[in-house]
């Protein structure tokens, strides 16, 4: 190791230690300073580590946890950037925390989730074995810009890692298009026609026109959003056949799903310990990444049946008589999927919607009007109460009023202490849908009350 690299490692470790002493996360800041001393630090550390990198709009963290569980199942010596520190600074911190003072890595494997915009600087240094791209949806337009711009970012990111094998979502016309233009080897995963719910074209789709020739796509089926069996009538670009495919959804339960999946020709029964259709995509993607890392499908399947996600992704808390579940929402596609999941919950429930507009949430809250909150009104009397909270609670209240939720069931509470008090008094199961920074704050408040893990654990 060169002198500046060792100095950077020392600095990074010292800053992290200091952060923890003052009870801060210290997930990104130490790496940021270390990279100032040694800009190529990440590539120096990453070259001896076999890495699965995960990017895309939705499902990064969940997919990463699934892959991680498989690594643990197999007994691999690995680490991961668990706390959502997914920019180059946070990823670098994580590598430094897993190396010796002289820069020798203590772990052989890594599971790294990476922000879509940051991938361009990260992948070239990381040189992952496998890159999993989950999907591309419109997300925080004030920050990421148009979705085609994000796609271009990822394309350029992968150009920095030409040896990496790509696991791509076959059903996402944007994501799948990466395969054609890059020299990388690619496998596809997706939900086959027979397993997809039959539904009409959604009112809003994030990819209506062919990414190659701008002709409107035709669809054989749609699983959700713009995902499904797309094909372009003009240039012939179409959904590639999935090597890892959900062929049959046997059961969607409030706490998990059972599906048949075809794994490179072999059909297997797979239990996913996380509910909702969109998590079947995450499961199929993780299955592909794990298998392509050479761990074997059995390991992946065992992991899917057992893993727990936490950190705001269907995370459970012992709050109120029937418990609370927290489901992070960040963009219209993800939010609509969570609302759709609520429609599968058979019991009466209370809901907390927590909307912030800080920079990590996106400063433009207009996206809530692109999410299908009308699905809440469809719950009817099963939705006993909705509490709106967060910096933009007022906007959220207007949104669900216009979605048709009766006004007398809507309550506004911007004080998290009072909100948690209220939740603690509830008899019915509580579902909490916060944006990112609202999740951090509210989670903290809940954990102080009923216990749970700090965000960096």
């Amino acid at each position: 190791m060169r002198f500046n690299a060792i100095l950077a490692i020392l600095l990074c470790k010292a800053l992290r230690l200091f952060s923890r002493l003052v009870h801060r996360g210290g997930t990104a800041m130490p790496g940021r300073y270390a990279l100032k001393l040694c800009p190529e630090l990440l590539s120096l550390l990453a070259k001896d580590v076999r890495t699965v990198a995960i990017t895309g709009t939705n499902g990064k963290t969940t997919s990463a946890r699934m892959v991680e569980e498989a690594f643990a199942e197999k007994g691999l010596n690995y680490f991961a950037n668990r706390s959502g520190a997914n920019l180059i600074s946070g990823i670098t911190t994580e590598f430094v925390m897993n190396c010796t003072l002289t820069g020798k890595m203590r772990k052989e494997y890594a599971v790294i989730e990476c922000d879509e915009a940051a991938a361009r600087t990260v992948f070239g240094q990381l040189k992952p074995q496998v890159i999993l791209v989950t999907n591309l949806f419109r997300d925080q337009l004030d920050r990421y810009g148009e979705v085609t711009h994000t796609l271009e970012n990822i394309r350029q990111a992968i150009q920095g890692a030409p040896e990496a094998l790509l696991c791509l979502n076959a059903d996402c016309s944007l994501t799948a298009s990466l395969a054609g233009d890059l020299p990388n080897r690619a496998v596809f995963y997706g939900i086959d026609r027979g397993a997809a719910p039959s539904r009409p074209k959604p009112e809003i789709s994030d990819a209506t026109h062919c990414i190659r020739c701008k002709t409107e796509y035709e669809y054989d089926y749609i699983s959700y959003g713009h995902l499904g069996g797309f094909r372009c009538p003009r240039c012939g670009y179409r959904r590639p056949a999935a090597d890892y495919a959900v062929t049959d959804v046997l059961e969607l339960r409030p706490d998990g799903s059972t599906a048949r999946m075809r794994i490179k020709g072999e059909v297997r029964l797979v239990d996913v310990n996380l509910p909702a259709l969109y998590n079947l995509y995450n499961a199929a993607g993780a299955l592909a990444a794990v298998t392509e890392m050479g761990l074997g499908a059995d390991t992946a399947i065992a992991a899917l049946g057992r893993f727990q996600c936490g950190f705001g992704r269907m995370e459970r808390f012992g709050l109120g008589k029937a418990g609370a579940k927290m489901m992070l929402v960040k963009n219209p596609a993800g939010c609509s999927q969570v609302i759709e999941f609520l429609q599968t919950v058979r019991e009466h429930l209370v809901l907390v919607l927590c909307l912030n507009d800080r920079s990590a949430d996106g400063t433009d809250v207009s996206w809530i009007w692109d999410a299908d909150f009308e699905g809440l009104a469809a719950l009817g009397s099963r939705l006993e109460k909705v509490v709106v909270s967060g910096d933009r609670a007022g906007d959220m209240r207007v949104r669900i009023k216009y979605a048709g939720v009766p006004q007398e069931r809507i309550q506004l509470e911007q004080d998290y202490g009072a909100l948690v008090d209220w939740m603690a008094r509830q008899e019915k199961p509580i579902y909490i849908m916060p944006t990112y920074t609202a999740m951090l704050d509210l989670r903290q408040e809940i954990i102080q009350r009923v216990g749970g893990r700090e965000f960096w654990d």
Partner: protein, 241 residues
Amino acid sequence: MELKICHMYPDVLNLYGDRGDIICLSRRLQWRGIGVQVTRLPIGRQAALSGFDLVFIGGGQDFEQQVLLEDLHRGKDREIRAAVEDGLPFLAICGGYQMLGSYYETFDGQRCDFIGALDLYTVGSKKRMIGNYKFQCEPEAGGSLVVGFENHSGKTRLGGSVRPLGKVLSGYGNNGEDGTEGAHYKNVFGTYSHGPLLPKNPAFCDHLLQTALERKYGRAELEPLDDAAELFAHDEMAKRI
């Protein structure tokens, strides 16, 4: 009473929650017992604009712009110009607003012909104008205080025959330089305001509905609604910026 609303290009002009404006228009009519019919007019679909009482055009992304312009220049542009002159109410947001103007010139000087229904043009700039903003509508455009969210790199300049929709109180507006926001011509209201515009600005929404109803029925009195939730969200943002 009933309003027939045309939602133009909902397939490609649907960014930043602009469909919230359609939801808002519909609800505020329904809550007053007034009928509403929304017709989606995607790319490639023809329908006579004279059959509608209100036209809505949202903002979009650059990717589909070329497809959209091809469709416009197949005759819809002419029809829109005629409808505007005829006094048909329009609400056009951001990209839809720019599109009603004469042209768009990119930063490097390439010119793109638009509809030419409004005497205004837009020039691209390098800096994006993003953020919450507020403006005071001119009295003839209802006079209300509007809060919204703008996100555009184009700078719009108004010609002599259109009036600004309002005066910027905070933020950029048309170009960040002359203090104007949006355009108002006959019954056309053009603005950069996403947010979406209407739900948090019920007075502006009702002015638009009133305009459309009066044109159709001669006179219209809108029953007041309980706007406590809307005004709370409006006032919170108005205070913040």
